[in-house]
Amino acid sequence: PLPSVSPAADPAVISPQDPTLLIGSSLVATCTVSPESHLRAEDLYWTLNGRRLPATSYTTLGPTTLSVALTRLNGSKQQSGDNLVCHSRDGGILAGSCLYVGLPPEKPVNITCWSKNMKDLTCKWAPGNEGETFLHTNYTLKYKLRWYGRDNTCQEYHTAGPYSCRIPKDLALFTPYEIWVEASNRMGVAVSDVVMLDILDVVTTDPPPDVHVSRVGDLEDQLSVRWSSPPALKDFLFQAKYQIQYRVEDSSEWKVVDDVGNQTSCRLAGLRPGTVYFVQVRCNPYGIYGSKKAGIWSDWSNPTAASTPRSERAAGGCDPKGGEQNTTLRRELKQFFGWVKKHAYGCSNLGIKLYDQWRVWLQKSHKARNQVGKDPST
């Protein structure tokens, strides 16, 4: 059918228009057609979200008014509201009403905050009760300084995920903040518990810059790590704490060095020779401005790679594990021939001779390998 331009007056009126309802409640809606449309109640039908509602739920209230009864409503199919529509017999839309069916919000929980270099304060929270209210829910972060009357509202949202906000400037030190989150939707408001914090207790900083990892001379089981103090707080980090984590190239298991203290260098020991390691460092601005508490760990620095020197005593080839294999093999062979010596009477002479000759050969080739140096021998 061609779209028709309806008269200036609305062809029909629905009541209630755009109501807000609690999940599980019931509703009776009416559609009254205007006299100009020349339609009657029996020419009308209802749909909800595009699906026709059964005629058994209709009641004619007057010559131009048809009502529909909806019971035990589920949460709205979309946050823009369920579409309840009054149609004329040929399917044309006469009027519509958006139903907002949902729940009031729950108290937001788990408010955590951190301050980057004492320049800003970012907080994140979680919606109460998994957050499914079926309605669009607005979150507002509010804060005030303790002992000062004025409430402030955070403006920059979603800086660290969907439930987060950032206060970018004018932070006060030495006075605690009171922080809370208000959740509101069409059905009501819920306010979180108030969190009290001191900026100095939640300071974090950038990862340490200039991380260098280098060998320690020829030592094959050590690497030396050096870094700089994060520049933004470098004048205050007298008691900073650092942590190092490292792993071998092909492993995902990190080893953490915890007791680095506040030096800006550290030596890793007990490493495997001839192996590539990835190293990261992070910083905690512990005890800033005399705070007795630990701050918040920075992110890890970008991984820096370095390799330990290869041991020269290893079987001259490219496989660092070659040396180990040889020693195990020798040990086993030794044990075998030892056993043969003990238990094989007839052939024992042959066994012993063979064994001794083999040992002599082994020693000769070992000496030769050492003299030749890096040449891979058979």
């Binding site: 331009v5 595009g50 044309g92 839309i93 009403s97």
Partner: protein
């Protein structure tokens, strides 16, 4: 044809610029109007593509029946605030270049305003992000059309390019009617982009091909 002249031009420029004996030369060319028209045409195709995804997401947010393929609501009088692309064929054919461009410029300026006014709280962050991106691209189209008009010597259409808002119909009186307005806005945007592709194709054929100007500025030459 165009290909040959471009080739010759490039060769000349390279040859002249590489001769060490000559003092420094500046080679520059001007973008032909036909290239601006081509660029505008390309923009309408790009926007049409973007709109498909945006409209799909937005209509899903509005919910059924708005996102049903055969949805055909009445065009209420109030919905005529949105400029319609639909036009009589002979009328369309007979448009002067100026009128054709002006119609496009006015339509997209108004459509951009209405799009920007779409509920800032609408839907997910992803939907709002898509909307923002589309508005930026649409702004680019408006500027591109303005560029074509000025390069052809036509004045930009005067008067307010925002929604004229006749009294009483400024904002939709209820949420359902607002959803209908949103539906028609997206529909008209789609129709306009289809039409504009044809408008700019037509303009491309009428405007002379790129005029290449070689400007040599030699110091002391």
């Amino acid at each position: 044809p165009a290909g040959d002249s471009w080739g010759i031009f490039t060769f000349l420029c390279a040859a002249l610029c590489n001769l060490p004996a000559l003092p420094a030369l500046n080679c520059s060319e001007e973008l032909g109007t036909s290239q601006s028209i081509q660029k505008t045409y390309d923009l309408t195709r790009y926007l049409e593509h973007q709109l498909r995804t945006l409209a799909g997401t937005y209509l899903n947010y509005l919910g059924p029946p708005f996102n049903e393929p055969d949805f055909n609501p009445p065009r209420l009088a109030r919905a005529e605030r949105v400029p319609s692309a639909t036009v009589d064929l002979d009328l369309w054919r007979g448009l002067t270049d100026n009128a054709r461009l002006a119609a496009n410029y006015r339509a997209y300026s108004r459509l951009l305003c209405y799009l920007r006014a779409l509920d800032g709280q609408a839907g997910t962050a992803e939907l709002r992000h898509r909307l923002g991106h589309f508005c930026s691209s649409l702004q680019g189209l408006v500027l591109s059309i303005a560029g074509v008009m000025s390069s052809l010597g036509y004045p930009l259409p005067a008067g307010p390019v925002g929604p004229p808002a006749p009294p009483g119909t400024a904002v939709a009186p209820n949420d359902f009617l607002k959803k209908m307005d949103d539906f028609w806005l997206l529909k008209e945007l789609q129709t306009w982009l289809w039409r504009s592709a044809k408008d700019f194709n037509r303009l491309k054929k009428k405007v002379p091909p790129a005029v290449v100007t070689l400007r040599l500025e030699a110091r002391g030459f």
